[in-house]
Symmetry: C2
Subunit: 352 residues, 2 copies
Amino acid sequence: MVTMREVAARAGVTKQTVSNALNRPHLVDPRTLERIDKAIDELGFTPNLLARGLATGRTMMVGFMLPTISNAFYAELVESVARQLEDQGYNLVLCTTGEDSDRIQKQLTILRRRSIDGLLIAEHQVAEHLDVLERVRVPHVFCSWEGEIPEGGIAVTFDFEAAGRLAARHLHDLGHRSIAMLGQLPEHRRRLDAVRAELVDLGGELPDDLVQATGGPSAALAYEAGVRLLQEHPEVTGIVASHDIAALGMLEAARASGRSVPDDLSIVSIDDIQAAHQSHPPLSTVALPTQAMAREAVDRLLTVATGGTVPPEQAITTLEPMLVQRLSTRALDTKAVDTKPVTRRSRRRSAG
Amino acid sequence: MVTMREVAARAGVTKQTVSNALNRPHLVDPRTLERIDKAIDELGFTPNLLARGLATGRTMMVGFMLPTISNAFYAELVESVARQLEDQGYNLVLCTTGEDSDRIQKQLTILRRRSIDGLLIAEHQVAEHLDVLERVRVPHVFCSWEGEIPEGGIAVTFDFEAAGRLAARHLHDLGHRSIAMLGQLPEHRRRLDAVRAELVDLGGELPDDLVQATGGPSAALAYEAGVRLLQEHPEVTGIVASHDIAALGMLEAARASGRSVPDDLSIVSIDDIQAAHQSHPPLSTVALPTQAMAREAVDRLLTVATGGTVPPEQAITTLEPMLVQRLSTRALDTKAVDTKPVTRRSRRRSAG
DNA sequence: CTGAAAGCGCTTACAG
DNA sequence: CTGAAAGCGCTTACAG
């Protein structure tokens, strides 16, 4: 690697002046600036970030700690964040934890040893170790945060309550009155509560036995829970899944149970991962704005990391979701007056 | 952050001795070693990796450059690699490229500026920029590499030919004689060629019109191609998809076309991502050993990165795939003699 | 406007 | 066995 020293030699100045040329060009004579620039080009010099980091305390690296990326929602979030950071000249150090407390612990200390500029956290377990972060003063923001926000913490979250309400209202608007919920509990309790609250507000209800916990994040578990649900409650015409992956499993459960979606069962969920519009039928879902999340989270983190302060009213940013209606939901037949009786045909259409 | 200097002060030695205690403990008196250890514990000292990196030239960071992680195969690979590196005390700098040549270029230079110890490459576009890597001598290994391996390069690949042959033979073994292929071309040409070669070896064939290109990596595109395929060639009873995501799309295409899998259409693919055993029916697929890939790739990279040499015969490591038979394939009815006539029932079973 | 000095926190020979 | 010296490649006051 070419060093500043070599550039200096070639330009006939000292390395300090080269450094100045790079960092405070207004302080250096235009003509020597020119010579330096020339030398830099000719040598292909580009400053070593390690050395700069050691000198300035800024490494231009941020960590992202989260349970896994083998989950489309997280994968897409991480990719957006990485992209965002890249634009700002930062790099992303990936820390998946598998929700293992020991790993979290170790990763936290190694991240600290690397002098990262900041840390994005989408891993709830980390709460136990928060004191470390505080003590060491590494700037951090909670990202896509669904739990309690620690005292004084900075967070960017989605409005999960609105998401749940939108999903519930959508089914209600379509005439559904027998609505169930399939979800990853307790992780998605907020979404569940919101669904129930909205149904109640609309004059309906969501009794406990119409809430099926999947027991995990996988589609397979959702499938099993879905089959059970339909067995125990064949009267159900609409289902809110607490996230897209569960909805995908539910879709299969409906098929296996001889129900066709959306003809005799409507399914709506929350997230809008890419797979949501690649299923058949494509999922109606409440889209969580991942891109905006990446943008805001990175923005907040970098302002703190660069010594700026986030005004209290911006400490918690809540991003609004949006209903995306696709083909997994439709108006309830018995109520739908001016809808042609579609059964087999609508399936075809939704599939093509 | 506590520094070595503070530890030294408390232990009543100089920082050099502390450094020795850490890096060559055999050179220091057992009693002072003890004092130093005590001081380290009391102060919670842990050496700054930036400074160490600058002094030694080793940063304990490696980059991973690949097109995207919004694709389960890559996401799972990255996570395995990160896990593997973590165990060795390394961190992973994630570089997704979107296959954009400009981004690749920029990322390559910034990675260099960070003095990463090595680079894992699963991004074919990078071939254009290889000279940079060579010139700057950053150790790199090609990972999950399906294309040409650059002269003198180190690579860990899957045996894609074996994968294609296993998939083809599986269908042939089950009695299928009218076999088609659905794939992401030209990316998966090797897999395609292998499928064809195997069928020919077995006395069959794979005419060009039975090969459908999906035109991209998404399930949605595979779905469309699949519908087309079944329309044009209703006689087909077995399909090899070039990767699981395509198979998932094909599964939907089969449903939309009124074919039930595996009763009147068998589908086998290649990859074995998590979603492969969560679909209904779960996919028969040729598993590419991702974990082993992560292990081997990291192993190779770290030996080169630490100054070791990889013997020529280990320059290219080929990992063998394995057929995992699940429920998306079955023996062809007309040929199956001792198989009970299963139609509706088998579907149920596979679903539950 | 430019350079000499000091320092970021570590490591690696080299004396003693 | 331990410490004084020099250095990794940069930056930031501070003189001149």
